[in-house]
Subunit: 195 residues, 2 copies
């Protein structure tokens, strides 16, 4: 792996483990084994490196919407996306950055996070519209709004799980969202409850 990539991967790990404020260029050099000259050649400032690390985290996140973007029955895709295995106690690498004090005050560092969420929102809106068109959701639901609700369920579920150090509240939150979506079918079609 080249030293630039190694620096970015290491910064991504350290921001994840320690946050931005508490990660120093020296930590990055020590863990990556990349020398000071090479580091400053690629990234003149810690912020430059953090931006590259955030861009990398976003690239990791986006393929995850493949269930939403796929083909086939919309509610099945929604369920697959909501319920697939997620590391509840680790949280979302991208969403978590909004709570890092120095990141949230820096528009440049927040930009990749904002872009990623906008893209996930688009995927949600598309699949929800397909569910309405397929008669699986009431036509009077505002799909733009509902897309934010469902994104918030996942992001907030991580917060609840970490607080309790238990994945239970995360699993409850998403299963409860699925219960509500099913209850919001036009004619109360009973498609079964999740376990």
């Amino acid at each position: 792996m080249d030293s630039r990539q190694l620096l970015v991967d290491t910064m991504s790990e350290l921001m994840w483990e320690r946050g931005y404020a508490d990660t120093s260029p020296r930590h990055v050099r020590e863990r990556s084994g990349v020398g000071q000259g090479s580091m400053y050649h690629h990234f003149p400032t810690k912020r430059d490196l953090a931006l590259a690390a955030l861009e990398r985290n976003v690239q990791d996140l986006l393929p995850a919407t493949s269930e939403l973007d796929g083909q086939g029955d919309p509610m099945t895709r929604i369920e697959a996306y909501l319920m697939r295995p997620r590391a509840a106690l680790k949280g979302c690498k991208v969403g978590r950055m909004t709570q890092d004090p120095q990141v949230r005050e820096d528009p440049v560092l927040l930009a990749p996070v904002a872009r990623a969420f906008a893209q996930v929102h688009d995927s949600w809106v598309r699949v929800l519209r397909e569910a309405v068109a397929a008669g699986q959701l009431r036509a009077d639901l505002d799909t733009e709004r509902l897309a934010h609700t469902l994104m918030a369920v996942l992001q907030g579920g991580y917060v609840l799980a970490i607080a309790q150090q238990d994945p239970g509240p995360f699993d409850d939150a998403r299963a409860g969202a699925l219960d509500l979506l099913r209850a919001a079918a036009p004619s109360h079609q009973n498609t079964g409850r999740t376990a």
Copy 2:
């Protein structure tokens, strides 16, 4: 105000602004004007002070469930709690601590956060059960689960709003949750859409 209280209030502010890792005892002394001797008398370590600050934040949060715990029509109370003015771009002082790397790894610091969320969950379960009993929500909904869904909508809504630097996604997320709750009425009672 006594120096102990001043230290706790200052630590609460600084953890909010800068996070735990980036807040030093010196920052606290400089902002509070409390001397080193007095500080170490009250709080031998930064962690002792952080714990007191977290307990204080929890005390600030809990009266906020008064809408849920009140009397009167359950769905009206649910709507009042979900939709009341909240500083979307600041986030939840308590929930945010789960994303602070050093806090989330410290069971003692997480304990007040876990306790606060457990108490909010109890309030949610009670009002949701009342809504079921009043015929406002389908009786087959799992209220324990749904309580976590609705807590997650608020916690996750903050994440989305901060990412976009726009309260819109937060307001969407909670309004969308209310839409779903109304759609989950036993007989599709149309109680009106939120604006």
